[in-house]
């Protein structure tokens, strides 16, 4: 019975977080929410006795995929900010991957 309750909680959390991922509009935030969703999905897979799948899900779903999205967003924002600024000027305004570009 407790196993059923645990599965119920995890399934509900997965559904809720999945909806949050779909409703998040900003890609950089979405990558972070996707990472949290992937972690919950991984825990659900452990609860369903599929540790292999959970391991792959946590490595790929919570680490690699969100990282690829964040890097892509950083690249796009940096290129946009470079084109708006004077090319000679850009060394004084480096936009690192962790800094949000203000427009």
């Amino acid at each position: 019975m407790t196993a059923q309750a645990l599965l119920g909680i995890l399934l509900t959390a997965t559904a809720v977080l999945g909806t949050v991922v779909a409703l998040t509009r900003d890609p950089a935030r979405q990558a972070l929410v996707l990472s949290a969703y992937g972690l919950v999905l991984g825990v659900l897979m452990v609860a369903l006795q599929a540790p292999d799948v959970a391991l792959a899900q946590i490595a790929i779903g919570t680490a690699v995929v969100p990282l690829l999205v964040v890097l892509t967003v950083a690249k796009v924002e940096r290129e946009l900010s470079t084109r708006q600024e004077d090319p000679e000027d850009r060394r004084r305004h480096p936009s690192g991957p962790d800094r949000r570009v203000r427009r």
Partner: protein
Amino acid sequence: MSRRPASRVLSLVGGVGAFVLLLAAFVQLPDLGHVTHPYGTRAVQAALGRDTANVVSSVNFDQRAFDTMGEEFVLFAAAVSAILLLRRFHDEEEDAYELRVGHHDVWSAVNLAGFALLAPTIMVGFYVVAHGAVSPGGGFQGGALLATGLHLAYLAGDYRVLRRLRPVAVFDAAEAVGAAGFVLLGLSALLVGEPFLTNWLPTGSLGDLASAGTVELFNVAVGMEVASALILLLAKFLDQALVVRGGGGE
């Protein structure tokens, strides 16, 4: 963010339809934990017959090794295409300034966590690959752990540290060796007169590290291929995000 009414109606109909169909399918599923699956029973028997404690690995690398070969080359092709698309074009330049970015932009707690977790994560990655035939995990999971673990070096230091730890040429070769190793290992069965991908090595005793015959060797090949493919893929993305600038036409 305004969508046309037609697409709203379509997505609503599609969503409700998929929901109803899934619900109808779920109602007919057997109860959780109270099922003797005909395929599951036979797969476990076949796995135990070849002293493979991890039945999932037995299915992936012995009973259904051909499917796994296909999957491995799906990953190989995907990684190679992404690497090809993200190569540096002649009108793009490398900006050395960005190599220093990273170290000062993160909390020192993040530096410390990255430093503390780097070696243990790599160790766990090797462990998971090596014990692929014995305990949960295997080449794919261990390879993914190795690839993600290595990138903790970026959190611990900066991009120059990661670049030094990750010579792209080495992983280029390792990816090819991993992918080719799987096929060559499959072909090795032909030398002893068995069909392609047959588990022909002595299987040892159940639960030992050196058990399950070729299953463990397939795990190592896949681990090498997956780790290298992910490292190369992330290397191209990191280069694009941190180092390469310009290009793309004005």
